[in-house]
Subunit: 450 residues, 2 copies
């Protein structure tokens, strides 16, 4: 059995349909023991949560018998198609893609980027072509320090700037650096991406989830955790879209100082704020305790594998060592190309164009939801590339939508198990307004049936 | 106190001169306890070996008192300049750079690379601009599979090819993947790069060193280690230049199969073999137990941060998961550019030119050594970018050379402490033939004085 991230179905759906198929066609007989969720996760290279959810779904469908402490077994049949019965169809390909966190790369500024790349290749110094500073090329670090100071209020000098291969890469570097310095526990927002728990655990640290409410991270709950660091999305909580309230910011900074702890600030989509100026970075309040993280994945394209951090001076030495042992730095010609892209004003131009485009798509989504699903309250609309729509039966709606070719995420994909109420997470970045309207109309029909 | 990898002095020399200066000018007084080598390594972000060596040197010079089990202390003085004494001069800047593992990037084919980059930017698909397969862009993996099959006899299909950010990055991914599957111990060649011990240890595995003799890795010693995997440089041992003998290859493959172990084959400089065809990759003998690793750092430039692995199918799933959690893949436009560079024959052309250039430099170095130092036996000359020159007092010669502006490495930089005899490692890739001749003349004078 194998699964693929390139497959149009989710990993969990692939596992379910493979097992369902094997049970139905008799290759897995009633009573057969299956691998534990841990073993299956390891074999397939997927997270534990995915195999747990897949087994739970198959148990709910009657294919598996799950007993605490025992290996899951194929339930007592009979299974398989009755004579003349039609096979269960696989999920159809996606017709509407509301999945979040996928920028519209069809607008990638190819001409401008090609020009910057050419200049970078022709002008890069011999020293920079060789092994250089693992933190990145000087010219790019200077550009980033200026840009982040200007746009995000980050306290940045070039020697604090570290070029990464994207946010999760930087987060892993920081976790391993903090672990080597004696940290034991890192707090994560609940909800947040499941990858973060695994990255923390693989660095030898214990992840603990701290709830988020309408004012953002609950600092009182954080203070009860005994954590040595916290990952936080102050400008626009991921995925709920809540902005960390001013009083909470002050509480958080006070906690950081008292505990000598670090905050990892994931400023993942500050560039996309539509109705007013974005809130400045938390890092500006306490640059010695906050590690600022940003990425080119949302503003340009994930393919660049470029991100950046601004780190307290105390962490620079150990972090450089960690970076040398991890991958010795990010692709250097691309860094210089990005520096030119910033210097020419190409990034500001590109972002102005994309903000207009994404705002129009957001407006189309919000209007279509108001029209077709007037009873639902849409939140998280002020910024980013997705909105949040609270519903009771999030998982059932998502499954029913998927069966008719509508892709979306749910809050359940980000929640610690059992926590919080349900919501659909609807991204609007990768479809035209007309497709968004048509997709919402079909989604409304799915919800009406559910 | 801080040190920098960009400084002309080695990290160890920087630590020594900082501490020596502080002791001499009285800012560190006699009896003052210094940080342990472990703490100092952590603070400065350097390997433990560097601080151990620096402290040992300062103790040897009388500045430090070191007692087993106690923190090192500043020795009883007096120190500091006598009235009118002249300050100890710092090491001068490098005039001759014989340090190994630094390709001549002055010959980087800027025009050809810029053209390939432009084509890649204009032609990359929207899917590839977004998050794609963490193993790399399909077109590049296909090119690599063809190239490695043709040039290195690697058994490669595109689905086995994993694009990395260079050799050490790939090695870390593999170590963590093996650790997650239950591996405990990894054998490393002695000598080999010190970074490898640290990467293994940080993956939660125990590194064990296995000696290399004139036939390459001692497989009998490997078999006594109980290791679950071994890192090996069969085509050209790093840094001694020994080729793994055919009988040893067969023994190694038999060991891998019997023990169900993996070999990580670091094929770091197979492209530079001057006098006969390079030995084919070990991976071709046993593609289910050998992970093949190559890099663009030596053939083009370290700045690209591109490398590749060919992995057994059994490791693909867990490795993809590990990669998703580490950095989600390598820069994708650069991968397509490299695919074009291969397809156009640009790489073959570039390598033909560089082989001629490096061979001329090697010949100049070998001739100059024979002329100025006729009693020394030069080895490891058949391939790569450096030669090995056995000497008794390797560290003393290296220090004396550094004081007159000659940079080189020694076998001690690669040996487990206490093992083996001494040698100078002299790289010839980054200087002209005239500079090489002049440098050897000065080095001979240093050795004559030593």
């Amino acid at each position: 059995m194998s699964v693929s991230r390139d497959h149009p179905e989710t990993l969990r759906a692939q596992i379910e349909s493979r097992l369902r198929g094997a049970i139905r066609d008799g290759s897995l007989r009633p009573g057969t023991a299956l691998p534990s969720t841990r073993d299956l996760s390891g074999q397939l290279g997927v997270s534990r949560k995915i195999t747990v959810d897949a087994y739970a779904q198959l148990a709910a469908e009657g294919y598996l018998a799950i007993r605490q402490g025992a290996r899951p077994r194929v339930a007592d049949g009979p299974f398989g198609p009755e004579p003349g019965a039609r096979p269960v169809p696989a999920d159809p390909p996606l017709r509407y893609d509301f999945r979040p966190s996928r920028p519209d790369v069809s607008s990638f500024p190819r001409e401008a980027w090609a020009r910057c790349m050419r200049e970078a290749v022709m002008e890069i110094s011999a020293a920079d072509l060789n092994y250089g500073d693992a933190f990145g090329v000087d010219g790019f670090r200077e550009s980033l320090a200026d840009y982040l100071g200007r746009v995000r209020g980050v306290v940045a000098s070039p020697d604090r700037v570290v070029v990464t291969n994207g946010y999760l890469h930087g987060m892993g570097l920081i976790c391993r650096t903090l672990a080597a310095r004696g940290a034991r526990r890192i707090a994560l927002e609940d909800p947040s991406s499941w990858e973060e728990d695994e990255i923390v655990a693989r660095a030898g640290l214990e992840p603990v989830r701290v709830p988020v409410d309408d004012l953002g991270l609950r600092v009182d709950a954080l203070a009860a955790t005994d954590a040595d660091a916290v990952v936080v999305t102050p400008a626009h909580q991921h995925p709920t879209g809540v902005v960390l309230a001013p009083a909470r910011r002050a509480e958080l900074v006070a906690w950081l100082r008292e505990r000598h702890a670090y905050a990892i600030e994931d400023d993942y989509d500050a560039e996309y704020r539509y109705d007013r100026a974005p809130v400045g970075a938390l890092q500006g309040l306490d640059p010695d305790h906050v590690i600022y993280c940003g990425t080119a994945s949302k503003v340009l394209a994930p393919a660049l594998r470029l991100g950046w951090m601004v780190v307290p001076p105390a962490l620079a030495g150990p972090l450089r060592h960690e970076r040398m042992l991890t991958d010795q730095g990010s692709a250097r010609i691309e860094q210089l190309a990005f520096a030119r892209f910033l210097a020419r004003g190409d990034l500001d131009r590109h972002l102005r164009r994309m903000r207009l485009r994404y705002r129009a798509r957001r407006d189309a989504l919000v209007a279509a939801l108001a029209h077709h699903l007037p009873s639902l309250r849409v939140t998280g609309i002020a910024a980013g590339l997705h909105v949040t729509v609270p519903v009771d039966d999030q998982v059932a709606v998502a499954r029913a939508a998927r069966r008719v070719g509508i892709g979306l995420s749910t809050l359940a994909d980000y929640q610690a198990s059992g926590s919080g109420t349900g919501a659909l997470i609807l991204g609007y970045s990768s479809m035209s307004e007309a497709r968004i309207r048509a997709g919402v109309a079909e989604l409304a029909a799915v919800i009406a049936r559910a």
